[in-house]
């Protein structure tokens, strides 16, 4: 028997590994639906035999591992293994895609105290390496040589980098407003970069269309079920890093809805396995200019609205994984919150100055959301964790907004400036 199968999030139909993978199917064959500027329908989830796993494995086994090497608990991943080794993958390759193991940090200053999962030191400096590494390892086992994806920047640079590390080709579709550093990062890794004359929503639809026509393997987020599956490693890395002492509330920057869906999937599994008792409350933090999921949380209605925010990584007018993200918020007892660009920039600045951690605007959104949440809720003293999903150097244009140019000083001027009184 296979160790896993696929299950449709919407119609709940189940499919064997063979049915899905042998035919390169992404969405549910029964109800899957792709429409321009609309959330996807029929997104698939991977399911394991949790009772069987529970009988054979314990939480304690995980605590012996270093975070960031998810394949080591191979029974929870859709990868083929022989005696704990990944088929067709060398150990040296695995070292190349090891996520940051120094990811769980406590930050405190002047009355604030929270924890972070710092994904800004992953191989390509973003959370997206969680999805890309699983997708590319899986692709290698399937004999695939090239992968296409749409991206606001991070998923693309991640896929391009991980592909270069493991010897695959990548084709990345990006929006016109991509920050220069991200575009250069993708290009540097040797990917073919296609800038579409529009936003991320257009890049998503275009990439899907071209991939289908050309029979390319596709890593579009939410569409490829492995993207959600890959992101579940965040839950396990929190679990391992805290040795099971999980946070009470997690603040998640949300655009397409895949990070929060993947995190929730991991937390749900941990509860199924009996290794945690309660799923932390997930707070979806969105940019005010890209708030489709927050609006859906209020009235359960989706209406397409072009997105715009300095937090480019979470700009998605049509969050493709909207329904799963909404489910994660509701089932965890969480909520959605929006923050505007000024609050985001302020949070980015505070995080760098107070904590010495330079993050991109979308990550700063989770900090801004945390601060807003603390103001408007009686903080019950619960333990808060924030996801920091991307490095600040991936978007220097945002940093230029609050770091003014400095003029050079002549020697005389320096001496005058620092004259001893």
């Amino acid at each position: 028997m296979d160790k896993y199968f696929y299950k449709c999030f919407d119609c709940r139909k189940e499919y064997s590994k063979k049915e899905i993978e042998d035919n390169f199917i992404y969405l549910c064959p029964a109800c899957g639906l792709i429409q321009k500027n609309q959330p996807l329908r029929g997104v698939l989830l991977i399911q394991y035999d949790y009772n069987a796993i529970k009988e054979k494995h314990t939480a304690g086994e995980l605590f012996d591992l270093q975070p960031g090497k998810f394949w080591l608990y191979d029974y929870l991943w859709p990868l083929e293994t022989v005696k704990g080794k990944l088929k067709r993958i060398e150990d040296a390759s695995l070292n190349l895609v090891t996520l940051s193991s120094n990811c769980y940090l406590e930050l405190s200053s002047k009355g604030e105290r929270f924890y972070i999962l710092d994904d800004s030191r992953n191989p390509t400096l973003s959370f997206k390496d969680r999805a890309s590494s699983l997708v590319v390892l899986k692709a290698m086992q399937m004999g695939i040589k090239q992968i296409a994806a749409a991206s606001t920047g991070n998923a693309g640079s991640s896929l391009a980098g991980i592909c270069a590390r493991l010897g695959l080709k990548s084709i990345i579709f990006v929006p016109k407003n991509i920050p220069e550093s991200k575009r250069i990062q993708i290009q540097s890794f040797g990917a073919e970069v296609v800038i579409v004359d529009g936003d991320y929503d257009l890049a998503f639809d275009t990439c899907l269309e071209i991939s289908k026509k050309n029979n390319w393997y596709n890593r579009n987020t939410a569409y490829n079920p492995l993207t959600i599956e890959g992101k579940k490693s965040s839950a396990y890395d929190i679990f391992i890093s805290t040795r099971g002492k999980m946070p009470d509330i997690i603040f998640v920057p949300v655009g397409d809805g895949v990070i929060i869906a993947g995190l929730y999937k991991g937390l749900w599994e941990l509860k199924e396995l009996g290794w945690i008792k309660k799923i932390p409350r997930l707070i979806a933090v969105q940019a005010a200019g890209s708030d489709a999921i927050a609006r859906y949380c209020r009235n359960q209605k989706f209406k397409y609205k072009p997105a715009g925010s300095i937090a480019d990584s979470i700009c998605a007018g049509a969050p493709r994984n909207l329904y799963m993200a909404y489910n994660a918020v509701v089932k965890s007892g969480g909520s959605a919150i929006t923050v505007n660009d000024d609050e985001i920039i302020d949070a980015q600045k505070n995080c760098a100055r107070k904590y010495g951690i330079l993050i991109e605007p979308s990550s700063a959104a989770s900090y801004a959301g945390y601060k807003k949440f603390c103001k408007s809720n009686e903080t019950s003293g619960g333990k808060s964790l924030l996801l920091f999903t991307g490095n600040g150097l991936k978007d220097t244009s945002s940093l230029l907004k609050w770091n003014k140019e400095i003029k050079p000083f002549s020697c005389g001027a320096v001496n005058k400036k620092f004259a001893v009184k």
Copy 2:
């Protein structure tokens, strides 16, 4: 008895911890000499009682540790500890300055095969965090609240970031030609940035002068003996990562000479302790436009020449640690090699495309040096390790040289481009 003392590299005089630290002395009181645009004289080294350590500790103890947490083998650091805990430093603070633990990687492609120490994922994305973390931890134990440094960019962003993480103030002197991303990184961390109207050599001298006048604690590289000491952690991280199976040759990007001196110090200690039998050969790789140490290796003469190269991090006309760097090359049976800017850019490109690792030009210099070395030497089949000292996103201007701008595609044009034949 103190666990360590200071020893002058030039005149070999020894000084107690108290004599040096209580008086905030940096260079040897007997022969120390600072001259404009000249290597320093009287640089101090920290020495331990290696026989005593050898009796109490084994190499095997180190292999149980994760790389990047140097303070855990407290007997080899000039820090005050009580029962293995650092005095006046909280554990949460130590997590914030943990270096990358996924630093040792094997790279191979099309006939090439070498190992890297990847410091591009350290807290502020460069090797300099090795020195800054030790300097700032020591400063905290000494009750110091602010630190000044001269920097081409990385030492400054490192000091600024580590200071922000640990709650200290920093003042950074940088040259006029600092890459924008590095300048912004330093500023973002809340440091006071002083751009001098000249090169790194001028920034170094100016920073020293102003620091002395104002009684600031100074982290200028080589001048502050803790910078060399901090960088020795690279040797231990290689030792831990390889479980003692050390490389035969190490390629080191060299500017001021402090990285190679620190690495050598660590290797020398490992040999003193009897934990390695042989010190790997150290190959000093310099940019052709900043080759003072390579010239010194040829004729043992120093002549100041203003430096210029795309590898800004290793641009130093007057390498302040020249004599110690030369010693490291000679004593390890190594040599010096120069690479020009074209070779550096080519190496940067190849590294990103073939291995998915984006590094700044100075790091690429070590790869360029390795390639040049392989061409001109019968490669004995020895195991080569390259230091990758800084992330590529710290200097996007260098990446723009080989990543051309891309024009957006209209939908029609995309379809045409990827038409199925």
